[in-house]
Structures are given as structure tokens and as C-alpha cells.
Amino acid sequence: MDIKLTIDGKEVVVPQGTMLIDACRQAGADIPTFCYDPDLKLAGSCRMCVVQPKGWRNLVASCVTPAQNGMVIETDSPDVIESRKVVLELMLSRHKLTCHTCEKDGECNLQDYCYRYGVTESRFDGKVHNLFKDDSNPFIERDYDKCIMCTRCVRACDEITGARAINIMDRGHHAKISTAFDGELVDSPCVFCGQCIMVCPVGALTSKIAAGKGKAAQNDKVLTTCTYCGTGCTLELNVKNDKIVGVTSNRDPELSPVNRGALCVKGRFGWDFVNSPERLTTPLIKENGEFREASWDEALGLAAEKIKGIKEQYGPDSLSMFSSARITNEENYLAQKLMRAAIGSNNVDHCARL
């Protein structure tokens, strides 16, 4: 059933059960959010998305309030604006303002909304909590002096990855994100997938591997497919001066249909080999105990010739094929086909079977 409501003077028709935030966005209102993430369970806690329903005593968080028939909503009333400004000031009062060296600079929600609402400083004297977590892991930087407690990382860890490595510790103003017993990630169920980095709206969680190599907002983004396994996750390479300086992910289901932004530790953090001088970039053929560079045609031709020779001399069962999970199902199919139909042996195995 459809319901009708008025948002900023515009009439909108939405299906029953639609949250106000979607109805507002349908009406063209730009609703700011921190804790809201369409891929995660609702929290309704940052209170940035508040709007004013006419005749209601208080503002409501539009992300968790279902639209009702006949509602009249204002998304930029003086109360709404004041409320959003104060929420930003409250966040700023405990936020380590080191934007100039922050990896998130340029794509930080806190920065963007402060710009939008003209919040240059906080009226509330706060103190940074000194919650920076000196975590020895090589992947995830945990600077909770920048944390705004939106809990998206907690929900992503639970709902996307299923690791449940982090949660909220302590209460009130002292609440913070932590592992069990406030330890390091390596001693927790963390699998270093970095989904927490992906959903963090500020610079509290960032990649140690990409740190200092280029701010994400200023890098070129190139979509590619991860080669680590046959899943085929979409990676978003961060490219600067024709060099890969980081990997982020794209959550658009059209662009990232397999993983929708989720990656594993290898895909998100295991890319620094790309620029290694030790990397093989061309086939090598060993002659007289020494490697020399060769073309693909030459190398493949040599391999085929040798395989043929072995088969002729010792029979097809003297050969076996050991295949890999790094290639796709289709490629694995072709590999066994090559073995069975072309070479004539059933000696086929695969690393995932061990």
C-alpha cells in the first residue's frame, strides 16, 4: 500500500514501511548521516538525520522513523539546523582535528557536514580522550581520538564479516570501541578484512599499508578484479602518478556485484607486491642453469613440447595436473579438460581438496 506525505512542501508517495530518510531523499532533501548505512542494521543513534514532523513534540531520526500517511515533514527548520549544528559541535569537541595529515581528508563526513553547516569550532570545550590505540597489527590503524561512535565498524564486523572482533566498551561519554578486554586486534577474532575501514565515516580507522602514500580523495580510482582467488571480488585501486598506492572497495552492486565492497585481508591489504622490483613480469626459461627472459609464445611452446615428449616416452599417466583456487571454476574446468581430453590422464587434483 502506498502512503502520501508532504516533505518540505512537496508531496511524496512512498510504499508503506518506507523510512522517512528515503522519503526525504525522494523529495530531493539531502539528509546528512553518520550512523546510517543501508548495508547494516539501523542504529538511529548519531541523531544527525533528524527532521521535524509537524505537530510532534520532538525531532525524529529519519533513518529509523517509518513514514506515516499525511505526515508533514520539514528537513531544514531552524530546530533541525540547530540540532544538527550542535551534534556536529559535540562530535568536534572530542575529535582530534588533524585534518591536514588525515588519510580521510576530503572524503570525511564530519568535515563535509561542518563545511555545509558552517561549524568552524565547537562551543563546547572538550578534551580528546587519548584513545589512540597503539595496535601492533600491520593493517588497521585505530585512532579512536577521531571516533564519533557511530558504531558502523561494530555492525560491519558482526553483520558483513561475522567476526565480532569489536564492540562498545564502557558507558556514556567514556564509551569506546574496543576488542574484548580492550586488547589488540591480533588477540581478537579479527580477520583483518578491513570492512571497518570501509564503513568508517571519519578517519578513525584507516589502512596502515596505504598510509602516507596519498589521500584517498585525491587518488584516481580504477576498478579491477582481485586475482587472489576465484571469487572475483571487485577492487578499487587507488592510483597516484601511475602507481598503486592503496586499495579501497566500491559498494555499488552494479560495479561490485560479487562482493559489494567486502574484501578479505589479501584483497584490501596485499597489493604492495605490485611495485616490487622482484616481481616477475615476463616468462623466464632456464638454460644451462641460468634464467633468461622469453615471450609467452616461446615459453608455452616449450612447455607443450616437453609435456608431449614425456607423454610419448612414458605414457599419459606419467603426467599429473595440480590446479589452483586462485583461478576461476571455469578455468579449473578447462584445466581438467586439458588433462583428460588432450593428455589422456585422470591425474587431476586441486589445492582446495587438501
Binding site: A61, V86, L90, R171, G172, A175
Partner: protein, 406 residues
Amino acid sequence: MAQEYRVLLEYADKINPESASDYIKVGGYKGLEKARSMNPKDLTEEVKKSGLRGRGGAGFNAGMKWSFVPQYPETKYVVCNLDEGEPGTYKDRIICQKNAQALLEGMAICGYAIGSNQGYIYCRGEYPFVVELLKNAIGNAKESGALGEFNIEVRMGAGAYVCGEETALIESIEGHRGEPRFKPPFPGVEGLWRMPTVVNNVETFACLPFILTKGAEWFAGIGAKSYPGTKVLTLTGDIENATYFEVPTDYLLRDVIYELGGGVKGGKKLKAVQVGGTSGAFIPPQNLDTPIDFDSMGAIGAALGSGAVFVMDETRDIVDIVNRIAKFFEHESCGQCTPCREGTFHCKEIMEKINNGRGSLKDIENLKVLTRVMVKASLCGLGQAAPIPITSTLTHFEYEYLRKLM
């Protein structure tokens, strides 16, 4: 002369609260018997008709609340809120200690109305002796057969004020962090373990047996029309008789203090009275001739809340008291939503600054902005009500703030 009117506490200290047979001797469990002879729908209608409104502070019509519970799910729950964490409030403890069986009977009546056989009592962690008492009372009632199929379990809180908020209470029973849920969905539709749940206060449940035995009209005729019945009040602070009283709801605040309360301690003058617990408004002496019922208190910008009456004499330092209250809320905020998590902290910081003589007019201005946003934008009642002591004293006692400024 205004007098007490005891309904829930009529047999206080005359019966053993743990004993079902004692209770039955004075007419107990007749209400449940009557309820079970009725159609559950008619029972809910009867409770609606009595005008009984929640005694925990929100003042929602109890029968109305029950009527939101859908019929179809098999599993439903009745939850009693005994997380009496509001400082200065101890009426639920008194009701349990004087008449625990009435609470159990009330829960069973509610269970019958909504089609639930399972009740939970969530008891404040600081009341271990009440947990003992209730467990004995439940055992005794089950043994006597008075509760029939209806079961009641006691769960103990761990000392968080916010768990008095019904959805945080539910989270706590489920074993999670005591954090309020956003509403809707309301507990009546999706509550404990995501099943339809009625959460009512101890006093609300304890009224039910009497409504059933004496009739909805009888109850609706007591006290204020829009908030009928009696209310158990607990008096604390600078008052001669710092104890509890049960009064009809049209009772005047002045009479609470000067008749039953015996006046301000030591014959001093009254400076302010805070009704409804620590999140209540500070009421100046000129508003004393207000009935204590929900709507009359609302009309003067106050709230009946839990029925705590905290009296302050002329020598008390309002700013110092509010500073202490601000500390309390800073400590008790669960930390979930931004306005409350950071707001209660900054309220405390600013109050401390003013109280220590380091504040300026700018601080008062900031306090006003901050409290306005907390009231309007916080997720639950804690953040929305925490600023009320500040805003009400800024309205009625601003001079106390101004004289402490730099």
C-alpha cells in the same frame, strides 16, 4: 484536612507480603478470579475504562497499551519494571515489601488479558533483598495455586539507571548492553526476544486487583479525572516526615509537604521541590497549589514521574544541587546517541564551571542551546529528561546562577 487514602497499601504491615494465604484472607486474588471469568477483550476494556495510567512516569493508559498487543503470536510476555533507579524514589520497593502479592496478581491479570503465561520482574540491582522477597512470594503464590498457569521469573539489574527505560530493560533481560532501542516498533508489538510484550510499572500492576474487585467506575472516581486512582509518593530531603504516603491523585503538592510531610525540616522556608525524581523539574513555592496528577504537573512544566518528592529548604544552593544532578546523568548516560552521550558530559562540565565561580553569561547561553537540543533530539527519555533540572532552574532560579558567575 487532606488525608492519606490507602488502596495498595491498605494492609501494609498487617499481612506478610510473601504469603499468598495472608493476602487471600484480606480479599486477595479475587481480582484475578474475576478477570479470568471475563473475556480478555472485555477485561482490557474494563482497565481502559478505569482510566489507569502508567505509574512509572510516562502516564500512558494501561488498557490502551495492552490493546496494541497483537493476538496471533503464541509467545507474549508480561514484564514488570522494578528497576526503581530514580534517586529519591522507593515506592516500588515499599509496594513489594508491603503487598508483593498484589503485584503478582496484577501481572497475572495482565497476562490473561494479552494471552501470556510468562511474566518477568526486572528488579533493580541494589534491591537484592526485594529479589529474595519476590522469589519467596512467587513460590508461595504458585504453591497456593492462585496464579494458575501464569509463571513469573525475577531478573536482576546491574545498577544502570537507563535500564528503567523499557526497551533498555528488555535488552538487559536478553543479556545485552543496557541500551534503549529506537521506537517504533514499540514493545507491545516487538519487545522481549522480539515478541509482543507489555511493560508496566510495579504500581500500575498493583492497582489492577483493586480495579477488578471494586470496579472501573470506583477507580475512575478517585482523585483527578484524567489520571485517576491513588499514587504512592516518597518524601526525601528537608522534610519533617521523610517517608512514603499513598494519596488520591488530586492531592495538592502543598498538602503533601505541609500536611503529610509535616512541613520543611526545622521550620525553615521552602526554596524548591523536585517532583518525579532526579530528572524532574524544580518547582518554586508559588506553584505549590497544584494537584500532583500527571496533567496538572505537566501544566506547570513539571512531571509527576515516579512520585518522588524532594524538598529543598531556603538554605540550599540550587546550582550546587543541579551540578550534582548533572554529574549523575553524565555517569548514567548509556553512550548510544550523540546528544545524550556528549551532552550530559558538557552539561556537567558547564555546571561545574558555573558552580565553581568560573562561569560566564556565555556558558549559560551555551547551556540553554545544548539542553534544547538534548530535549529535542535525544534517542530516549534519559537524554530528553536529563536537562530538565537545568532548564527548570534556569527558568525559576536564574538569579542563583547569575550570582555565581565570574
